[in-house]
């Protein structure tokens, strides 16, 4: 039997506006589920299939009870004894007049009749009320395995009185705040789910293992993202070819603006990708743009085929060496490789010293050289740390932000220094070396591995 066949299914039910959608959002790690201050926004049951790779489970967000007293009365009229209760509920959801009179209750009871377990949600910050008993009684009539979740929306003032009441109706009662529950609390809840139905235990244990490995994987994925971001931001250069040095200088404001725009967009893209790793696809970032060091503008000459002086000299040197080698071959090696060596040296030096004249030459009106205005790359030693600090700060926020929490993320002062201080000495040394190499536009092998220490702990 595949995990799809034994997929655990949980219908989240309860009074309107008690955080049912928030619980589904947090447990399914889905921030696209609408959470509204207005009651009655969930009008039909919505199913969320959570696939963790090797296992999965299903959460069903349902509308709240609207006419529990009348529904219970209807059920009582249709069941004379306890053995008829479950079939009375089934009859209720299939009855055409009930569908019209009690659409919300039909919607919320249908998944239960189809085999889902019950997650009954109440608000622990408000006192228990006798009116809830009709709802709990209806749920008891379904005969499905059930658990009650006390959601302390504003505070925990009435949690204990709720526990006393709920314990009489439900097998398991837990306090769970979907806005604040950290990863361990979420997995503990899933662990509790596995006790509701023995046949779901195996699949839910696998779900928990998968989620733990995803948590670990997110660390590596984030380090990989930061690695690409750092490489991009530290190596990016924006340039424009022009004919004269004055033209190059006149472009400075425009190019600097475009350069910084690119850098900001690149950082934003990395932040969006980081949010995606954590399945926060709707979150809003309130951040100040990254500060770029001043004086990034420069201008340099370019020569034939757009090569710079060094490249032109290298190409000329190589061409000279090949031509010299041909001469060596022609004299069957009697020249003792002097042709290749001499040709290389001649090609290199003539290109190096004669390159400036190319700038002024034209072939049929086309210039053989000119100037280019350049912005970047950033060589400031502190810059990689600024990038890392912002990224790691966002990582830490996202790591602990629940999907029911829709508040915007505000990027404030980061604490990279503290993070670095707790790293091992060898890791810190590797990080500093990597940053130094990045500032020199040199490659850093396994950069992501160097950065991963910043995301742990």
């Amino acid at each position: 039997m595949s995990f799809m066949d034994s997929r655990a299914s949980f219908a989240v039910v309860g009074h309107p506006n008690k955080g049912k959608s928030s619980i589904v959002s947090t447990l399914s790690r889905n921030d696209s589920i609408k959470i509204s201050q207005q009651s009655g926004t969930t009008v039909e049951s919505s199913r969320y299939k959570i696939d963790t790779g090797n296992a999965g489970f299903e959460l069903i967000d349902t509308p709240g009870f609207q006419r529990p007293k009348k529904v219970l009365a209807w059920l009582k009229n249709n069941a004379e004894s306890a053995d008829q209760r479950a079939s009375a509920v089934e009859k209720f959801i299939n009855d055409e007049s009930c569908k019209k009179m009690f659409p919300d209750e039909v919607q919320l009871l249908t998944p239960l009749v189809q085999g889902a377990a019950i997650l009954y949600v109440v608000d622990g910050s408000r006192p228990y009320g006798i009116e809830y008993e009709s709802e709990m009684e209806i749920l008891r009539w379904t005969g499905r395995p059930s658990m009650a979740l006390i959601n302390p929306i504003e505070n925990e003032s009435h949690v204990e009185s709720w526990k006393s009441a709920l314990n009489q109706f439900f097998k398991i009662v837990r306090v769970f705040n979907p806005m604040q529950a950290d990863f361990s609390k979420q997995t503990a809840l899933l662990e509790a789910f596995s006790h509701l139905e023995p046949r779901w235990r195996k699949t839910l244990t696998q779900v928990i293992e998968d989620l733990q490995s995803h948590q670990q994987m997110r660390v590596y994925q984030s380090a990989e993202l930061l690695s690409a971001l750092l490489t991009d931001l530290c190596s990016y250069q924006y340039h424009q070819k022009v004919l004269s040095e004055s033209q190059a200088k006149s472009l400075q404001p425009l190019l600097t603006k475009q350069y910084s725009e690119w850098m900001k967009q690149r950082e934003k893209k990395a932040f969006d990708e980081l949010c995606e790793i954590f399945s926060h696809t709707q979150c809003q970032l309130e951040k100040e743009d990254i500060n770029l060091p001043p004086d990034l503008f420069d201008s340099e000459q370019w020569y034939a085929w757009g090569l710079n002086k060094q490249q032109l000299a290298t190409v000329s040197g190589m061409t000279g060496a090949i031509a010299g080698a041909a001469v060596d071959a022609a004299v069957a090696g009697h020249s003792l490789m002097l042709g290749a060596i001499g040709g290389g040296v001649l090609g290199f030096t003539s290109a190096w010293f004669g390159a400036d004249k190319l700038v002024k030459l034209n072939v049929k009106g086309l210039p053989l050289g000119g100037y280019q205005a350049i912005v970047g790359p950033i060589k400031n030693r502190n810059f990689p740390y600024v990038v890392i600090g912002r990224f790691v700060y966002l990582f830490n926020i996202l790591k602990s932000k629940n999907h029911a929490d829709r508040s915007a993320i505000s990027m404030s002062e980061n604490h990279l220094k503290d993070k670095i201080e707790v790293m091992q000495k060898s890791e810190t040394k590797e990080l500093h070396l990597a940053c130094k190499r990045l500032c020199s536009q040199k490659s850093v092998s396994n950069l992501a591995d160097v950065l991963v220490g910043l995301f742990v702990g």
Partner: protein
């Protein structure tokens, strides 16, 4: 002059890989083209040294495969792609593409894959050159050696040809070796018709050592690159049926009254205790004439009386609870004032604005009812 604003390509990292792969393939292909052309074109008599060909098509591919494979496991990975990236010829954008690739996780596997691809294109170019020259010119395969003779070379060639021993015409033989040994001083007579007989052996050597082995190495490295990339991109997925929610209604809110003077019947829907009830009654200007009861706490007979009540009611509900349809059903028949209240152990407290708005939104659809909020709580 290009002054358009630079845009981030959403698949930038992937694009960079594609660009560097193309560059490396280009290098491999043209290297194969030039080296093979230089070797196979031969001297003015079209003579080509078979031993040189074996160096380029057997020895070099084997050694480079060995070096690139061993260094991928025991070092940083020395291979053609890595070496190509170090050439000082690339543009700034190409250099950045290489830099990005190098700084990626498992980049050495990507470089290894690209190198196998480049070597494959090297062998394709070499095969092309061989076939073109075999068709368009007379290639005279000979061999020369100062130290070795035909009897010493033959077992080596025989061993090299063992993978294609089913292809008889591509096998070396001692007679062919003896007749195609060349000397720049001694001229042999009547051996010219042997010179072309090597082509099948050379073709088979190229196909096996340069092409087939690289194809296998390239396929394995591609599988590994895909494996690592899949391993790192195994995302958590949530699929859902379309969430069926009604949109938040535009703000249409009922106005609030702070008191009233009419006589009324008290309807304690939420079962508020008598002490709180008294404090509410004392604040209302109107006179309480009677008490009726509807809602979750009411008996069937009380409910029936309340539902038939046509006089003004003061209906008290829990302000923090959202209005349910069963309340709405009840209110369709009556009229009066709806008073949502909030309280704690200390007594009555002001209703939170989010709750008040919920009730205002509710009452706006009930024209015979008004929302009451007492001023002094």
């Amino acid at each position: 002059m290009n002054t358009s604003s630079p845009q981030i390509n959403p698949n930038q990292v992937v694009t960079n890989q594609v660009n560097t792969t193309r560059l490396v393939i280009f290098v491999g292909f043209f290297l194969g083209l030039f080296v093979s052309w230089g070797l196979l074109i031969g001297d003015e008599q079209g003579r080509v040294n078979v031993l040189h060909l074996l160096i380029v098509y057997v020895f070099l591919p084997l050694v480079s495969l060995l070096v690139s494979t061993s260094t991928i496991f025991f070092g940083k990975g020395i291979n053609l792609a890595n070496l190509t990236s170090l050439l000082p010829l690339w543009s700034q954008a190409q250099q950045r593409a290489f830099l990005l690739q190098k700084n990626q996780h498992h980049s050495k596997w990507q470089f290894f894959f690209q190198s196998q691809l480049a070597a494959l294109f090297f062998s394709i170019a070499s095969l092309l050159v061989l076939l073109i020259l075999l068709i368009s010119t007379d290639v005279n395969f000979i061999w020369r050696s100062t130290l070795l003779n035909a009897e010493q070379i033959f077992p080596v060639l025989e061993f090299l040809a063992s993978p294609w021993n089913f292809w008889h015409s591509a096998q070396p033989n001692l007679e062919l070796l003896i007749h195609t040994q060349d000397s720049r001083i001694v001229t042999k007579q009547n051996t010219a018709n042997y010179f072309s007989d090597w082509w099948q052996f050379i073709l088979a050597a190229q196909l096996f050592y340069a092409f087939l082995l690289r194809l296998i190495a390239m396929s394995i490295s591609l599988l590994l690159v895909n494996y690592y990339s899949k391993k790192e991109n195994k995302f958590y997925r949530v699929s859902s049926s379309k969430q069926s929610v009604s949109e938040d209604t535009p703000i249409a809110l009922a106005s609030i009254v702070n008191n009233f003077e009419e006589d009324y019947a008290l309807n304690n829907w939420c079962g508020i205790d008598s002490e709180l009830l008294q404090s509410i009654e004392s604040k209302i200007k109107g006179n309480q004439k009677t008490v009726i009861l509807a809602g979750p706490l009411a008996s069937d007979s009380d409910q029936m009386v309340a539902e038939r009540w046509q006089e003004i009611q003061l209906l008290i509900v829990k302000g923090w609870e959202p209005p349910l349809a069963e309340l709405s059903d009840f209110m369709q028949n009556g009229n009066g004032y709806l008073l949502p209240l909030d309280w704690n152990e200390q007594g009555l407290q002001k209703l939170q604005s989010k709750h008040l708005n919920e009730w205002r939104r509710f009452v706006v659809n009930l024209p015979r009812w008004q929302l009451l909020q007492l001023e002094k709580i």
